[in-house]
C-alpha cells in the first residue's frame, strides 16, 4: 500500500511541477511575445484587437518609423552613448578603488571602505541632489547621465570581494618585478577580474540603458538629450491619459503611411528596440552574474 502511493506521488508531483514551471515561463514570455507581434502588425489593424502571438497584417513600418531619423532615432543613439561611456568609466574607476581597498597593507583601507559603504544606506534626497546638479551646471547637460551614477558602493564591494579571492602571490611577484600598484592593477588584476567585471558591466549597462528618471528630472527641457526610455515613457503616459487605443490613433505620426503606424504600434516597436540589446546579452552572462549576486549580497 505505502510503497504504491510513494511510486505514484513522484509522477504526480513532477507533472504538476513541470506544468507550473511552464506556466511561469508562459506568463513571463507572453507579454513580450505579444508586444513583438503588435510591433510587427499594422497599427490600424491592431486597434481592432485580437492580436496575441502572431501579427495579422505583417509590416515593418513601425520599425522604419522608429529608425526614420526623427527624435526617437536620435534618442536611441543618446541611450547608446550614455550606456557605453558610463559603463566603461564606471567599471574602470570602481575596480581601481576596489583594488586599492583590497590591499591589506593600505593605511586608509578601513576609513575609505566605511566612507564609501555608508553611501549605500543614506542619500541626501531629491531636493538637495537637484540643487547640487543645478549648481554644478549639469542641468540639460549630457554629463548628467554619466557623472552622478559613476560609483556604486555595491559594485565596488562585489569587485573587492572577488579580488580578495585571487592568490596573493600574484600581486607580490608583480611587486618584486618592480611594478607599482597602478601597473599591477592594470596588467595583473584587471585581466583576472574578467568574470566579475562582466557582471558589474551588466549591472551598470542595464541601469544606464533603462534609466529615464534622470532625463525626466534633469534634462527634460532639452529634446536633444532625450533617451529611448524617456520617449517610451512619454508615449506611455499619453496613451494612458486617453485610456483607449482607438482614441490614440487619431494622434498618429503625421508622416505615417496610411495610418499603418499608431502610437500603440510604435510603442511596441520601441519596447522591442529598448529591450532587445539586454535580452540578447544577459543569457550569456548568466553564469557570471549568478555568482556575482552571491558575492555581493551577504558577505560584505
Amino acid at each position: 500500500m505505502r510503497t504504491r502511493t510513494l511510486k505514484l506521488e513522484p509522477v504526480v508531483f513532477h507533472t504538476l511541477n513541470t506544468i507550473f514551471m511552464i506556466g511561469i515561463a508562459i506568463v513571463t514570455l507572453y507579454p513580450f511575445l505579444n508586444t513583438l507581434a503588435i510591433s510587427l502588425n499594422a497599427g490600424n489593424d491592431t486597434i481592432r484587437g485580437g492580436i496575441y502571438l502572431l501579427p495579422r497584417v505583417w509590416t515593418d513600418q513601425n520599425y522604419k518609423a522608429v529608425f526614420a531619423g526623427g527624435t526617437i532615432y536620435h534618442a536611441f543613439w543618446i541611450s547608446v552613448a550614455r550606456t557605453v561611456l558610463a559603463t566603461v568609466l564606471s567599471l574602470f574607476l570602481t575596480s581601481m578603488l576596489a583594488y586599492a581597498i583590497s590591499r591589506k597593507e593600505y593605511v586608509f583601507r578601513k576609513p575609505i571602505t566605511i566612507v564609501v559603504v555608508m553611501t549605500m544606506y543614506f542619500n541626501a534626497g531629491l531636493i538637495p541632489s537637484y540643487f547640487l546638479i543645478r549648481d554644478l551646471h549639469l542641468l540639460n547637460n549630457f554629463l548628467v547621465y554619466i557623472i552622478p551614477g559613476l560609483i556604486s558602493a555595491f559594485n565596488m564591494i562585489v569587485i573587492r570581494t572577488y579580488i580578495q579571492t585571487l592568490p596573493e602571490g600574484l600581486i607580490e611577484s608583480a611587486k618584486i618585478d618592480g611594478a607599482g600598484d597602478f601597473r599591477t592593477f592594470i596588467s595583473i588584476i584587471l585581466p583576472l577580474c574578467q568574470p566579475v567585471l562582466a557582471t558589474v558591466a551588466l549591472f551598470v549597462a542595464v541601469g544606464q540603458w533603462n534609466s529615464w528618471f534622470d532625463t525626466f528630472l534633469y534634462a527634460s527641457s532639452k529634446q536633444d538629450l532625450s533617451t529611448l526610455q524617456y520617449e517610451l515613457m512619454k508615449l506611455l503616459s499619453s496613451s494612458m491619459l486617453s485610456n483607449s487605443s482607438a482614441a490614440v490613433s487619431s494622434g498618429a505620426d503625421p508622416g505615417a503611411a496610411r495610418n499603418m503606424v499608431t502610437p500603440m504600434s510604435i510603442r511596441a516597436a520601441i519596447t522591442i528596440v529598448a529591450s532587445l540589446p539586454i535580452l540578447v546579452v544577459y543569457p550569456f552572462l548568466q553564469k557570471y552574474f549568478v555568482h556575482g549576486m552571491q558575492l555581493g549580497s551577504v558577505k560584505e
Binding site: 510513494l6 508531483f13 511541477n17 514551471m21 511561469i24 515561463a25 506568463v27 513571463t28 514570455l29 507579454p31 505579444n34 508586444t35 485580437g50 574607476l93 581601481m96 578603488l97 583594488y99 590591499r103 593600505y106 593605511v107 575609505i112 564609501v116 559603504v117 555608508m118 544606506y121 543614506f122 541626501a124 534626497g125 531629491l126 531636493i127 538637495p128 541632489s129 537637484y130 540643487f131 547640487l132 557623472i147 559613476l150 560609483i151 600598484d181 542595464v206 533603462n210 529615464w212 528630472l217 526610455q229 517610451l232 515613457m233 506611455l236 503616459s237 494612458m240 485610456n243 483607449s244 487605443s245 519596447t271 539586454i278 535580452l279 544577459y282 548568466q286 549576486m293 552571491q294 560584505e300
Partner: protein, 322 residues
C-alpha cells in the same frame, strides 16, 4: 596635568613617535594606492556627503532668492506640519502598505519558486526556466508598466480576455481605475519582474545544503514535503532572516517608478508614495523646505532601521550586514 609637565609629554610622545614614523613610511610607499582612491573619495564627498548640507532647508522657510544667512529659521515647523497633514499621512500609509505587500509577496514567491525549481531534475529544462525567469528583471519599469497596462487594459487586455473566457467575470474590469486593486497590481508587478532574480540567492543556498541531510531524512521515512519542510527550509533559514531584516530597512522605499507610471487621477489617494510626495511638493509646487523635511524623515527612519537590523542580525548570530 600640571603635576609633572616633563614626564607626561615624554611618556605620550614615546609610543606615538614610533608608529607615526612607520605610518608615514607606510604612507609614502602607498602613493599610488592613495592616488588611485582619491578621485572616488572626491566623488563620494561631492555627490553623497555634500548634499546633506541641503538638509538645512528643512529647518528654514527656504527661499531660493535669499543667501544662506538671510534664510528664516523655523525649527521643526515643517516636520510638525507633515505629521498633521492628511496628504502626508496618506502617502505614508500607502508607502508602508505597498512596501509590506511587496516584501511579503516577494519573499514568499521567491522561496517557493526556488524550492520548486530545485525539484526539477532535468538540467536543461531547469536552466531554461531559470534563464527565462530572470528576463523581466532586466527590463525597465517603463517597459514593465507598459506591459502591465496593456495586459490589464479594458479593450483587449489579456487578463480581462482570459477571465471572461473562463467565465469568472461577465464584463471587463477597469483594473487601473479602481483604487482597491492598486496595491495588489503593484505587488503583482514586482513579483512578475523580480521573482526569478530574487530566487537566485535561495537556489544557491539550497544547493549548498549537505546532501547527507536529505539521505538521513529519507532513511527516517520523510517524504518529499517533509524534506522540504524540515531540511530545505531550515537550510535556507539564516539567509532568509538576513535578507528579511535587511529589507526592513527599506520599508519606506516602496518604489517610485511603478506608482508614478501606473498611477492616475482616479487612484491617486492610494497610489502616491513619499517619493512622489517629495517630487510633487519640491519640484512641481516649489515648497523645497517641506519636501526636504519629508526626504529627511525617510532617510532617518531607513538608517535607524538598518542599524537596528544589523544589531538584531548579530544577536541571531548571523554575519554582520554592514
Amino acid at each position: 596635568m600640571a603635576g609633572s609637565p616633563e614626564m607626561i609629554p615624554s611618556k605620550q610622545a614615546a609610543p606615538q613617535v614610533v608608529p607615526k614614523s612607520s605610518l608615514w613610511k607606510r604612507m609614502s610607499g602607498q602613493k599610488q594606492l592613495m592616488l588611485m582612491s582619491l578621485p572616488i573619495l572626491l566623488y563620494v564627498f561631492v555627490f553623497s556627503y555634500y548634499p546633506i548640507w541641503g538638509w538645512t532647508m528643512a529647518f528654514q522657510n527656504y527661499k531660493p532668492a535669499r543667501s544662506f544667512d538671510q534664510q528664516e529659521w523655523v525649527g521643526f515647523k515643517h516636520f510638525k506640519f507633515l505629521f498633521s497633514d492628511d496628504t502626508f499621512l496618506m502617502v505614508l500609509r500607502n508607502t508602508i502598505g505597498m512596501s509590506v505587500i511587496n516584501m511579503v509577496l516577494g519573499f514568499v514567491t521567491a522561496i517557493i519558486f526556488a524550492i520548486l525549481l530545485n525539484e526539477i531534475k532535468q538540467k536543461l529544462f531547469k536552466r531554461s526556466i531559470q534563464t527565462i525567469s530572470y528576463l523581466p528583471h532586466f527590463l525597465s519599469w517603463i517597459i514593465v508598466t507598459g506591459i502591465v497596462a496593456n495586459s490589464l487594459s479594458v479593450d483587449s487586455g489579456i487578463v480581462n480576455v482570459l477571465l471572461m473566457k473562463l467565465g469568472f467575470i461577465n464584463e471587463p474590469i477597469m483594473w487601473l481605475s479602481e483604487p482597491k486593486y492598486f496595491w495588489g497590481i503593484v505587488g503583482a508587478s514586482h513579483v512578475w519582474k523580480e521573482v526569478g532574480w530574487n530566487a537566485i540567492i535561495y537556489l544557491a543556498a539550497i544547493t549548498s545544503i549537505d546532501p547527507s541531510l536529505y539521505e538521513a531524512a529519507e532513511i527516517d521515512g520523510a517524504n518529499r514535503y517533509q524534506k522540504m519542510l524540515y531540511v530545505t527550509l531550515p537550510g535556507i533559514k539564516s539567509i532568509v532572516i538576513i535578507l528579511l531584516i535587511m529589507n526592513l530597512g527599506w520599508i519606506l522605499d516602496a518604489g517610485f517608478e511603478v506608482q508614478y507610471l501606473l498611477g492616475n487621477g482616479v487612484v491617486v489617494d492610494w497610489s502616491q508614495t513619499i517619493d512622489i510626495f517629495v517630487l510633487k511638493y519640491g519640484l512641481q509646487i516649489g515648497n523645497y523646505s517641506l519636501a526636504t523635511a519629508a526626504g529627511i524623515f525617510k532617510t532617518v527612519v531607513s538608517i535607524t532601521l538598518i542599524f537596528a537590523a544589523n544589531t538584531i542580525a548579530k544577536r541571531f548570530g548571523e554575519d554582520r550586514l554592514i
